[in-house]
Symmetry: C2
Subunit: 133 residues, 2 copies
DNA sequence: ATGCATTGAATGCAAGTGCATTTAATTCCG
DNA sequence: CGGAATTAAATGCACTTGCATTCAATGCAT
């Protein structure tokens, strides 16, 4: 590994990544849009849902979410605000650091995620399966 | 090939793509920004430069460019307008279809591309080498 | 040739994003 | 304890983007 690839290989790899990324993201956005979600929105819901046990559900800080979905802190702040407006997540105070904000799924958010997840997975299967080795 | 991967593999692959894409694009933007270019701008310059012979240089239609860099037609129209304002490309009429627009590099555009290309390649090498197999 | 559908590009508009800044809470050092 | 430096999140702002629409040129059918 780490093979000092020649330039044209690097360029081709990068173009492949750009193409795959663009096609998949576009398709995801198209499919999810009918559920009122963008790809980033789902990504956040997915992160929030994956660590959640039925009763409580995991709570993440804004910064934690930001780094997980590769968005800036400000973008995530607004994204969470939008999700909250749609009643998909709720923001709560951190008891141990009152600057921080705990973001967690609402029941509606969990339901929406469960509803949309198979669709998202099917898009990934369609776009990725066989395309990356 | 085309192996019907299990769900968690698909999800992990997609997350890897998102991470690699975000990190690389962000780094490219950071480095190129000091030359007054965004990553998309360079991509367009790169497409225009690659087919160019010294005397003429290749001319592409807006739509052709759009599909090559995975942007919408409207985004590309504006992007070309910005590049033209900076005198990096020029728009000309298509003789055979007067709706179409021929976009080609100016001397300044060619110079800018040549100036920035090694930097872009080095970023690709840094981010991609050893990361994708 | 005339009119209608189609195609290429430009533009109005709304939405999402990042950077820089602001506001609030915490930490560190004197 | 008190004040400066730091950290978390929210906000102002400018920019890029995509969708829908518009405008111009072409192609097709009558």
């Amino acid at each position: 590994m780490a093979a000092n690839k020649p330039e044209h290989v690097l360029v081709d790899e990068w173009r492949d990544i750009l193409a795959l990324h663009a096609r998949t993201l576009c398709e995801l956005d198209r499919e999810l849009h009918r559920y009122g979600l963008g790809a980033s929105d789902f990504e956040v819901l997915d992160v929030l849902a994956e660590g959640a046990s039925e009763d409580g559900g995991a709570a993440y800080r804004v910064q934690e979410l930001a780094s997980r979905v590769h968005l800036s802190q400000s973008a995530l702040s607004r994204l969470v605000a939008r999700l909250e407006k749609d009643d998909l997540v709720c923001r709560g105070m951190c008891s141990e650091d009152r600057r921080g904000v705990r973001v967690e799924l609402t029941a509606k958010g969990r339901a929406r995620h469960a509803e949309v997840k198979p669709l998202q997975r099917s898009v990934l299967a369609r776009m990725l399966d066989g395309a990356t080795g």
